[in-house]
Each structure stands twice: as structure tokens, then as C-alpha cells.
């Protein structure tokens, strides 16, 4: 500490305090991104293989083709994660910071 000036100490202090917050912010961004990224994957898949989205052309399709449409299921998982799981996780991450 002999060579440390008051200025350098002041610069060093916030970085040690900010590290957990920065990490938490990265975690919050990651949690916020999981739902939209999953939805995006489903949407891209729907565009790549539109015949798998049978709701767009339901005539002549059997029950299972209408009930199980994989791109829509992927989108549904993303939406559910974003609406049900992510808000609580973000709230708990914020509480951990306090």
C-alpha cells in the first residue's frame, strides 16, 4: 500500500463493489434473453418449414397434425418461460443484490 495514492484507492474501491452487481446484471440479461430467444427459434423454424405449422392450412389435416405443431410448441415454451418463470427470477436476483 506504500505506493498507493488516495486517488488510486478511490478508483479501486468501486470496482470491487460493482463486480457482484455487474455479474448479477449479466445474469439478469441472460434470464431476460432465454424466453425471446426460444420464441425466435420457433419463429425461424416456422418460416423454414411452414408445412409443420398446419394451422395455416388446416383442411384435410388429422387431429394430431393440428394438435402437435412443433414450431408453435417451441414458441409456447418461450412465451411461458418469459411470462411465468423469468419475472420471478429477475425479482429474486434484484433482491439478492440488496
Amino acid at each position: 500500500m506504500a505506493g498507493a495514492t488516495p486517488g488510486s484507492l478511490m478508483r479501486a474501491e468501486p470496482s470491487t463493489l460493482e463486480t457482484p452487481r455487474a455479474r448479477s446484471s449479466i445474469r439478469a440479461r441472460a434470464i431476460s434473453g432465454i424466453g425471446p430467444l426460444t420464441v425466435l427459434a420457433g419463429v425461424l423454424w416456422a418460416f423454414a418449414q411452414p408445412y409443420r405449422v398446419t394451422i395455416l392450412h388446416p383442411r384435410g389435416q388429422g387431429f394430431w397434425w393440428l394438435a402437435v405443431e412443433p414450431p408453435l410448441l417451441v414458441i409456447l415454451v418461450g412465451v411461458l418461460f418469459g411470462l411465468v418463470l423469468a419475472p420471478g427470477l429477475l425479482e429474486d436476483l434484484q433482491e439478492e443484490d440488496r
Binding site: R27, A30, W64, L73, V74, V77
Partner: protein
């Protein structure tokens, strides 16, 4: 009214996708934040148990061979064992961390079941490829729950564990009853579907 096998694979793919994103979120926030709400602690073990229960109708209805029935029932049993043990750990009824090894066991048995009940070569059809790939992914993926038993707070192990579910989910979504794989389809596999 019985669905074709591809629909069943896609429904299970959705179950694996739900598990994958939940486990990824748990790896990101860490076990302490994840465990702040009791229902979240039961989410993954409950889903594993339900997936295990749903494998029983698969075993009963898809009786194309004895090997299929044995594979699906073995898979159902180990998934229910792992789900039940994880539920008991979350509830505090079990305390030894070694119960987490049931997940590694479930992965190993599920992977072996997938490999053994697929009698055709990798490039016979897409279905054959998916079952071979899924089997090896699960056997390799068993390392994550195995190591996680001893290092439960490791982000890398948690993310690897979640990634295993996500990869299996993608493989299950690519499953078709009769379709080519990398331009290959055995002439005895039947007419390819769209």
C-alpha cells in the same frame, strides 16, 4: 386416434425443451436464487417424474417389438426413480447428496435404451440416426449429473446438464417416422414422408 410415433417424439421434445430452459435458468442464477421460491425447486424433479409416467403409455401402446417395450419401460422406471429422488431431496425427505446420482443413472440407462432398441444402422433413416445420436448424447451427458453431485454450484456443469436436455430436445424434434438423413434412406424403410 393413436398418434404416429413422430408426434410422441415431438411431445417429449417439448418436455425436454421445458426442462432444458428451466435448468439453464437455474445454472445462470445459481441454486440459492433458484431455491427462493419453493415451487421452482419442485419444477425439474416434478417434470422428470411426469415424463417418466408418460413413458408407460408409450411402452403399452407402441408394441412394435419386445425390445421397444423393455427399453421404454426401463427408461420410464429410471426417470421416475430420478424424479422421485430429486423431489424427496427438494422436500428434505432425503438428505444424502448421493441420491443425485440417480440422474446420472437415468441418463445412462436412457442412452443405452435408445441405442439398444434401435436395431438399424446410423444412416438407415432419420429415425435411426436420431436414436443413435440421442443415445450417445445421453451417455456422454451422464458425466454432467455425475460431476454435479460433487460440485453442485458449478456453472459449467449446470449449463452442460441443461445443454444435454436442449440437444436431446432438438434431436427429438427432428425425428420423422420415415425420412432421409444426409441424403440416405434405406429402400426397405418405406416411402419417405414430407
Amino acid at each position: 386416434m393413436q398418434p404416429d410415433p413422430e408426434f410422441v417424439h415431438w411431445l417429449f421434445a417439448t418436455g425436454f425443451l421445458i426442462l432444458g430452459v428451466c435448468l439453464l435458468a437455474e445454472a445462470v442464477v445459481g441454486p440459492d436464487v433458484w431455491g427462493r421460491r419453493a415451487w421452482r425447486a419442485y419444477l425439474w424433479p416434478g417434470a422428470a417424474l411426469i415424463l417418466g409416467i408418460f413413458l408407460w403409455p408409450v411402452m403399452l401402446l407402441f408394441t412394435s417389438s419386445t425390445l421397444h417395450m423393455i427399453a421404454h419401460s426401463a427408461w420410464a422406471q429410471v426417470l421416475m426413480l430420478a424424479g422421485g429422488a430429486e423431489l424427496a431431496l427438494a422436500r428434505g425427505k432425503l438428505s444424502s447428496r448421493y441420491w443425485h446420482l440417480t440422474i446420472a443413472l437415468a441418463f445412462l440407462v436412457s442412452g443405452a435404451a435408445s441405442l439398444i432398441h434401435e436395431q438399424n444402422d446410423w444412416l438407415f433413416s432419420r429415425s435411426a440416426f436420431v436414436h443413435h445420436a440421442m443415445g450417445w448424447v445421453m451417455i456422454g451427458g451422464a458425466l454432467f449429473p455425475l460431476a454435479r453431485t460433487f460440485r453442485p454450484r458449478s456453472f459449467a456443469l449446470g449449463a452442460g446438464f441443461a445443454a444435454t436436455f436442449l440437444v436431446v430436445s432438438v434431436l427429438l424434434y427432428t425425428h420423422r417416422d420415415v425420412a432421409e438423413i444426409f441424403g440416405h434412406l434405406s429402400p426397405v424403410a418405406g416411402a419417405p414422408r414430407r
